[in-house]
């Protein structure tokens, strides 16, 4: 008898779960409170609202609220956006519940004021890609972790993790009933997510050009109906770029140093077979460097993942080498470059022009680090021209704008002490 009861309860729970998942799939195909013609009119919505207030209808507050929102802000019609993969994504509900699958989209979601609408995210957002952790996985800049409060007053790492680098938990995503999933550009699974989770999936991301960042921010601003804030954010970044480019654009090309950029660091030597990269990995396009007034020696290289031969780096004879430091508190790769005999005749090594810089990746292309590197590299490459530039103040302003946290860069600099050399 008891077993039968448990079986029955189990079946009911299972049926509810399936029902809930099916609802999630179905709920995004039509507008709420619509009579079926695909457009909400004032009469349709006001009738639904009046009936709801009289408790004389099956409509819920979610439905009449969403219908009111669509009528007010979307002219009563579904909203369609074109994402970074040129996919047309249609919204039948306003975005109140968001899932991100990578830190770049999480960061911009926070910057656009939508942290409280994140219902789950990826392992790297929870780990150290938006807010920092040390190499022991302990939180650093704890004030910032505490300042960023999610919807249930938790911290960023309290959010459910619904995907890792290689796996995605579609079932949990569907159960969370998101209004949108924001997926990274380098995956090609937007339609699959849409089908399995039952909600719109917007694919977006940036490379190492600021123009891509602007496009990503504007797209997300459109998705969230936060165009004004998106414009503010874009203007902020443009103003920072302008501070540097207004100076470096006046510098003659012959006076710009030739730079080799090692964005993956050099702590594992020339090449790490496990990850397929290290000192010999470079980027053909890194706008932070070129805007800062450096000539990227690898600018003519092609391909997504560029690994050059060590001999090639020697032949290039870079005047400056930037080696990214891939942890906040770990060892620097500069030592490998300066102490390796094969590299000893490179001008940058001979003239002691090998520097650490901020690691430009974190399961994406973090805009904060792109901006920090732009300021930092400008001060390194053209110290006289940028002698008045206050690196610490700029760094703090960047984090204030992106995450709303005061003094974050000052604390971070305690872990990335190389930056203090240009204060």
């Amino acid at each position: 008898m008891s077993k039968m009861r448990y079986l029955l309860i189990g079946m009911i729970i299972l049926a509810c779960s399936f029902s809930s998942m099916n609802n999630a799939v179905a709920m995004y195909s039509t507008l709420p409170c619509d009579d079926g013609d695909g457009v909400l009119t004032e009469t349709e919505v006001s009738d639904a609202v009046c009936d709801y207030m009289l408790e004389d209808s099956s409509y819920t507050l979610d439905e009449v609220g969403d219908a009111s929102y669509i009528l007010t802000f979307w002219d009563g019609k579904p909203k369609t956006v074109t994402d970074s993969h040129e996919r047309e994504v249609t919204f039948y509900r306003p975005v109140e519940r968001i899932i991100t699958t990578n830190p770049d989209n999480s960061r911009f979601t926070i910057a656009l004021g939508y942290l409280d609408k994140l219902v789950s995210t990826d392992e790297c957002t929870c780990d150290g890609c938006v807010l920092p952790r040390d190499s022991n996985d302990e939180k650093i800049v704890v004030d910032a972790w505490e300042a960023l409060q999610t919807y249930d007053s938790g911290q960023l790492d309290d959010l459910p993790e619904t995907n890792t680098r290689k796996e995605i938990d579609y079932e949990t995503m569907a159960i969370l009933q998101p209004d949108v999933v924001l997926d990274a550009k380098w995956y090609n699974r937007g339609d699959l997510i849409q089908e399995k989770v039952g909600c719109p999936c917007v694919v977006t991301g940036s490379g190492f050009t600021f123009e891509e960042n602007y496009e990503q921010i504007e797209l997300l601003g459109n998705v969230f109906d936060e165009e004004e804030r998106a414009d503010e954010l874009v203007s902020f970044i443009k103003s920072k770029v302008e501070i540097i480019s207004s100076v470096t654009s006046e510098i003659d090309e012959s006076e710009k140093p030739i730079v080799y950029f090692a964005p993956r660091g050099a702590t594992k030597g020339f090449y790490d077979a496990v990850e397929g990269r290290d000192f010999t990995r470079t980027e053909a396009v890194y706008e932070s460097l070129t805007i800062a007034g450096g000539i990227n020696i690898a600018e003519n290289c092609t391909g997504d993942e560029i690994n050059v031969a060590p001999e090639q780096i020697v032949v290039w004879e870079p005047e400056v080498i930037f080696v990214a430091k891939n942890t906040w508190d770990g060892e620097s790769g500069v030592g490998f470059v300066t102490e390796t005999p094969e590299l000893s005749e490179i001008p940058a090594v001979e003239n002691e022009q090998v520097y650490d810089c901020f690691y430009p990746y974190c399961r994406g292309r973090p805009i904060d680090r792109s901006l920090l590197n732009m300021f930092y590299m400008a001060k390194r490459l053209h110290p006289e021209e940028f002698s008045d530039l206050d690196m610490e103040a700029e760094g703090n302003e960047i984090y204030k704008e992106l995450l709303g946290v005061d003094g974050m860069f000052t604390e971070l600099a305690e872990y990335q002490t190389f930056v203090k050399e240009v204060y």
């Binding site: 009046c50 207030m53 009289l54 507050l61 609220g65 409280d116 009933q177």
Partner: protein
């Protein structure tokens, strides 16, 4: 002892400031009921609901009229609002209001003075990640003639709770007001006497 009073005072002040600060963060809209000063039996009376908020806004309102009160026979005579519905059996009228600072409706009062107007509103454009929201987001319509309602509106606007405070037709709940006033006086006297002793 003075230190203790100081700490208590500061704590209350902090609490007050925190409450004001919290409510200030939300996009406050308020709905306030205005009644004629005199409600005469059988004569049509105009009830005005004044809505304050930042445009664009959209709000749903439901009002329950006192028992015995009725609506005019024809729906057209009940309200000029473009979007309203009436449940005559339940004595309720509901509105859907978009960017309009007031709506009016008409009632025919009766002699029955024991019941009161009761109203709720809900901000329809308030966006939250919560699922299955419902009446917990309904907020009491305030009535400037009822001190308790005015005080509650700030808390209500946070969208967290629905209060059960009813707004009263002026002069209809004299007994309740008198009892409340008497209780306040007693409380204050007790507190003051305690302070003097110390």
């Amino acid at each position: 002892m003075y230190l203790k009073q100081f700490v208590v005072g500061i704590s209350l002040l902090v609490l007050l400031v925190a409450t004001v600060g919290f409510t200030s963060c939300s996009e406050i809209i308020d709905v306030e009921r205005h009644l004629p000063s005199d409600l005469s039996e059988g004569e049509i009376a105009e009830i005005t609901l004044e809505i304050t908020g930042e445009s664009p806004f959209m709000v749903g309102i439901v009002e329950t009229i006192p028992q015995g009160f009725t609506f005019p026979e024809s729906d057209q005579e009940v309200s000029d609002s473009g979007a309203f519905k009436i449940d005559r059996d339940a004595g309720k009228i509901s509105f859907s209001v978009s960017d309009s600072s007031e709506v009016t409706y008409y009632v025919i009062p009766s002699e029955d003075t024991e019941n009161t107007f009761e109203g709720y509103w809900v901000d329809l454009l308030y966006q939250t990640q919560e699922l299955n929201e419902g009446k917990e987001r309904w907020i009491t319509v305030t009535d400037p003639n009822s001190a308790s309602n005015v005080q509650n509106s700030g808390e209500d606007n946070s969208g967290d709770t629905t209060t059960d405070v009813e707004s009263s037709v002026p002069g209809f709940s004299l007994l309740v007001s008198s009892v409340s006033l008497f209780a306040c006086v007693l409380f204050l006297r007790k507190n003051n006497s305690g302070e003097d002793e110390e």
